[in-house]
Symmetry: C3
């Protein structure tokens, strides 16, 4: 029984597995020196949130006089982590395309890091409008604190805004790792390439998908299960780079589980899309779109003991 | 290149960011001494689960003779963490409303902590009915152990029941942080204000939303994607405190992706709501509601190589 | 006030809680010696991912000459953890059925562990086809690296394939703990008992449910919110073991939020199921099924200030 420690069995299995690395090279990274690290990127996102929302996350009870030291110390950490990961992702892409050394990668990574850090005050400005939008839009919100502490929509939008800035600066891989981290935490899947205006709110949020080429104006609110998606994707990689996802203009409200599909679909300013609506065509401004819900059928069911009945004609 | 360590650039950026804390004060907490801590609250939830389900979570192989020591030791930890967080959340709310010192906050926090701890045996009683409901309701459940170990619906309901008890005792912020932690782990979003009877089961669960003023009787089972929600929320904060979400009576079964909306909507005892039904009106007891599913359209597609076709008329 | 440390109160509460363990024995595990451990199983899954995708997860910058040592060292860890957990789960099941000692449990656990380890090269082969399917199927995928790093569908399928292998080998509890861990991370709920062919891709994925007795061929792609589920589950445990979930043949594509229900439902080879379709009957091969979407209703809404309107006739 090899479990007792038959070393030959383990050695043979090791050989077979290493052989499988050669047979399927796309799913291994032996010998590569510049791969970004998912754990570090997650830690980076959370450190950036400490700067964005001081006192809420990370160290609490910060006194005003310590603030410059506290913030510049976190910024130094963010700068070092971000520079290293951006550098890795640039070199990694360069390596993948088989171009050999990358003499410019470090300078580019440094410039991107600086530009990102410089954008933090603006990011805070936009995120303040998003927090206000959540409070104004949800009667269940007790305070803005509650939103920042625990609203999944606010967390997903915060991480999206960080990732989008890096995506805009041309960073590969890292922005998507960030938004998929948010997706994992919230069930909200926003591609970092989407463009989203300020005062944006996603309520509940589980199941929301916002595709790569979506454009969203300011003052838009969407609910759980909303898909802003593509029409056919049978074309696969041949569709890469085309506008496949809709445009949502200012002041639009989209209720739960609505699907809005297609790159030419424009939802006009101030429109309301009701729940469960399925749209593949444009909607004029200031229009409310609802679905004529299919007729419901009612049938009497005599009282019975729960969990003991399974009538053959029963259908979900 | 400032990345190499230009201290002046970092100092200037620090100033700009601190300036943004002044311009957008709602999204920072400098100088506040009494903010609850999300990480501590998550740790508290998991410590309470060790008391609720001894042997399943936390220390394993507890022998019966060690039990009093083991449990009272965990209870002491729960008491200290809970008292401190409740105290913070009460003082925080007090501070926010600008009323200065809070002479009663500590005594109130102590009384709440005691009352919560005293409710643990009852909580265990209700959670035993929920575990039984999951086993009785799911043919894929191999044992009650499997449910407690890994059913997301059971985890979400456990955390909801803890949070609801604290909500009932008037604790701000903390209950919602707890249920949003559950939401993050399970995709099930139950507001701590909802009222839910015993023998309750949510199967699969991703995308479930149970709004703040929902009332659910005993022996209710719901599936993934079910929304128990509000009608229009255009009114925002002006709707705060009104009953906006439905009432679900005893013995109701709600299949996947059904939406039941509105504060006056009552689903009568023993009713069954079939999958994808969209309801904004009350349903009499012992009634099965199904939707006349819209007609399906079938069209022949000749065999083709996968991923190489993108017909222009193709539509999701 | 007992919070100050009244030891008698704590002792009384401890007694009450211990008493509740006696009254509700199904939700406690005092004195049991062989319960699997959820945290260890999660750690095991992630260690297996280090062997499956070297360089992506766990240690980076592995040089080729270190590979045999590195891999056999991880394999040794996987073997020890897996053997111990499988042994516990077998003994635990044995104990539960009241059969006393389990003289064969250890030998069975060892054989299962060996067989699982031996299947790793094949697992890598199948997972390479899944990664290719994701890249081929998603125009937003920048590279196969991106898929392995952060696609939730790929993570869920990886964990499902590990869990399915253990399920096939007759291991109780552990496979479901693994797939529910994936469900928690991704919102994708695949039962370890489902059978799924190679070149399988789930895009976005939140809300996907693949039931226990589902059978899926090769080259199948599904999107967020798709349910491959059962018809009535009123029968509860009496339905255990019956085929309750559909069969999906090779080359089928299922767009978002479609529901396909019932154990006799077969979706024929090369068929396409469009978004939001609700199916309880079989579909012939090479057929596209779409739903005649219910008519949309458009109504003009004059421009208004956002969040200040709540017309009584307004309906989601």
């Amino acid at each position: 029984m090899s479990i007792t420690g038959n070393k030959q069995d383990l050695a043979r299995l090791t050989d077979e597995i290493i052989d499988s690395y050669r047979r399927h090279p796309a799913t291994q990274y032996i010998g590569s020196t510049y791969l970004p690290n998912r754990e570090t990127i997650i830690s980076l996102v959370n450190t950036i949130r400490e700067v964005l929302f001081p006192g809420f996350f990370g160290r609490q009870n910060i006194v005003e006089s310590d603030l410059p030291f506290h913030i510049s110390s976190i910024l130094g950490t963010v700068r070092d982590m971000l520079f290293d990961q951006v550098r890795r992702s640039l070199r990694h892409r360069h390596q993948r395309t088989g171009k050999g050394e990358c003499p410019d990668c470090d300078a580019t990574a440094a410039a991107i890091t600086d530009e990102f850090l410089g954008s933090i005050p603006q990011l805070r400005g936009i995120l303040a409008t998003d927090a206000q939008a959540a409070f104004d839009g949800d009667p269940a919100a007790g305070s803005i604190d509650e939103i920042i502490f625990c609203y999944p929509g606010y967390l997903a939008v915060t991480i999206y805004r960080i990732a989008h800035e890096l995506h805009r600066l041309g960073v590969p891989l890292i922005p998507r790792i960030m938004t998929e981290y948010a997706h994992s935490l919230t069930g909200i899947d926003i591609h970092p390439g989407a463009e989203i205006g300020e005062y944006f709110f996603i309520d509940h949020g589980t199941g929301v998908v916002v595709g790569e080429t979506t454009m969203i104006g300011t003052n838009v609110r969407i609910y759980q299960g909303v898909t802003l998606g593509a029409l056919s994707t049978r074309g696969g990689q041949s569709l890469r780079g085309t506008k496949r996802h809709p445009t949502i203009q200012d002041g639009v409200l989209i209720y739960p589980n609505a699907s809005i599909l297609g790159g030419d679909t424009v939802i006009g300013q101030g429109a309301t899309i009701n729940g469960n609506v399925f749209i593949t065509q444009s909607v004029p401004p200031h229009t409310r779109v609802s679905v004529k819900h299919p007729e419901l059928q009612y049938r009497n069911r005599p009282p019975r003991e729960f969990a003991q009945e399974a009538p053959p004609d029963f259908q979900i």
